[in-house]
Symmetry: C2
Subunit: 345 residues, 2 copies
């Protein structure tokens, strides 16, 4: 059931990301070939024109001369830099001049600008970054990867609903499972926040798979994994760091002997395929769920391929009318008498 509207306008933040603007522009050019959508490049106009050269006619360019640095404090940067690509992008989305906004810039600033300018989908109180990653069984979605570090049970329930709808709609799985990240499987484990949330999830119509231990994140035993943004950020950064460190260590140890170096040579193709299978850029950017508009946050280190894939993620969300479905589902779940009873208990 895809949206019949043929072409969407997807805004791309050309100033955000460690490799901006060139890799972002390259990514947009790649995406243009694969995705039949209108792409709007937002950033320093002269920089964009220089980078895009002959392809200029294929894109709309919106000048946003200010730049929010990757390490700038989000709230003050968003307040002060009204002509930054991030603020301009969110404003265009608010005015429905564009249908989606993709940025690999300062994550905190994208979250902050989106929340302030777009506000939330009806029934949602907090934004959540949804991160898709490869597991032993396929793909899992973790929410929240760092948008909101201070959560109540109701916020985690909203995350669970959004994750479930996303997984169902975009990844096309009927009734996906939703688990809670915790330090033990038993319902009595962990922080008070999680004990209360466990009750709430259990009482809802979500396909609740109980508590998920951190060591099982990569098992794929739960399609969606819910946690607060602090814990989610720690978990994902450890995952990222350990995968990188393991890769380095592997090469180091292989090079220690002639037979190891030979083995490395023979296994070149296998290792390349392995690397691809765990390459986050293959999965595109992370949807910022809950805000009233389609916003995709790319990794700060995104290269052209990652940018292209992030634009693809935006297009899929738009085609499937994700936010409309979230609105409907959150209303349905929060109207449920059991959920209301637990919330008022």
């Amino acid at each position: 059931m895809e949206n019949q509207k043929k072409r969407f306008k997807i805004g791309v933040d050309v100033s955000g990301g460690d490799l901006a603007p060139l890799e972002i522009i390259k990514g947009a050019v790649l995406a243009k070939k694969e995705v039949d959508q209108e792409l709007i490049l937002i950033g320093d106009k002269s920089e964009i024109e220089k980078g895009i050269k002959k392809q200029k006619s294929r894109f709309t360019i919106i000048d946003a001369p200010e730049r929010i640095g990757m390490a700038e404090a989000p709230v003050s940067a968003v307040r002060k830099k009204r002509k930054s690509s991030i603020v301009v992008g969110c404003q265009l989305l608010k005015q429905r001049e564009i249908d989606a906004f993709v940025s690999c810039g300062n994550t905190g600033a994208v979250v902050c600008a989106s929340a302030l300018i777009l506000r939330f989908i009806e029934g949602i109180e907090r934004p959540g970054i949804a991160l898709l990653f490869p597991t032993q069984k396929g793909i899992s979605l973790l929410i929240d990867a760092g948008a909101n570090i201070d959560c109540k049970p109701i916020h985690l329930l909203q995350y669970g609903v959004m994750a479930s709808v996303y997984y169902n709609t975009v990844l096309e799985k009927e009734n996906p499972t939703v688990g809670l990240l915790n330090i033990g499987e038993e319902a009595s484990k962990g922080l008070e926040l999680l004990k209360n949330t466990h009750k709430l999830f259990g009482g809802s119509s979500l396909n609740f798979s109980g508590n998920i231990e951190a060591k099982s994140i990569l098992s794929g035993n739960s399609d969606c994994i819910v946690c607060d943004g602090f814990v989610g950020n720690i978990a994902l950064k450890v995952l990222e760091g350990s995968t990188e460190a393991m890769g380095k260590l592997f090469i180091e140890y292989m090079k220690k002997s002639l037979s190891g170096r030979l083995g490395l040579l023979l296994a070149k193709k296998n290792l390349k395929n392995l690397k691809k299978s765990i390459d986050y850029s293959e999965y595109g950017g992370a949807p910022l769920l809950g805000v009233d508009g389609v916003v995709i946050i790319g990794h700060g280190r995104s290269d052209a391929k990652a940018v292209k894939n992030a634009i693809g993620v935006a297009a899929r969300e738009l085609k499937r009318e994700l936010n409309e479905r979230i609105k409907k589902k959150i209303n349905e779940i929060c109207q449920d008498s059991r959920v209301r009873q637990i919330l008022t208990a």
Copy 2:
């Protein structure tokens, strides 16, 4: 500066751990060969006698017929099973019948029994599990790996002091660095708990290395890493899970082609060395710091080698009089006028 007392009595919980009792007994036999200490085996007497056979005369056996299961709820298990190896071990330590207690059993039960029976070192209010792990530069120590999930800044300061003293005393590094696990490097990042703790660490005489991002845990940029037990447990379990998953995935991808299988064969020795370098069992058990007595918690899956190493960790702590030094240092740091000022602000 080692303790002159020649031999210590180290109690070993023979009933705790996934591979108990046989691997634990084997570990004790291995340790007996390497460490010149008296080993006291605590557990089901008939089981121990059956397992230890001819070596019986080399060990003291203390009968503790009850067993606390790996998944039992800690508090009620410790209250009810007074004749379990964990409770008996802690009581022997309290009465100074033994000098240290090593258990690979139910971690929550060991923490709970230790806190209830031994109480704390003067100046310490919460126990913390210190985990040593290999990094790109050597070894780092993370505290707390899961003993105490509800922390105040003062508890994290106490963790920082204990970690620093441990690293200095047992790993013999002068003035080790101590960092705070957080979602960003800036002092303004993260939960209120961490912002306040950042001030406290900065005002203390600890060699504070600031906030450490989760992706840098394995970089070795900070000798000690401090966090609350919930976050620490999540971080370490993700690390454990991802290392395991990466290993499995690697073998799977290598076996996909003939050249990959050949490469695997050629690199066998390199891979074995790599595996050893990241093998947690090489580092022995995790010291439970803060309780008034030397307690070492082994991994639930400990094999004989891990048990042997955990006994070695206990012996080193005893020889270096770790707890005496912690007591001295915590008193010194908490008497500091700047720390007192920040705490009362």
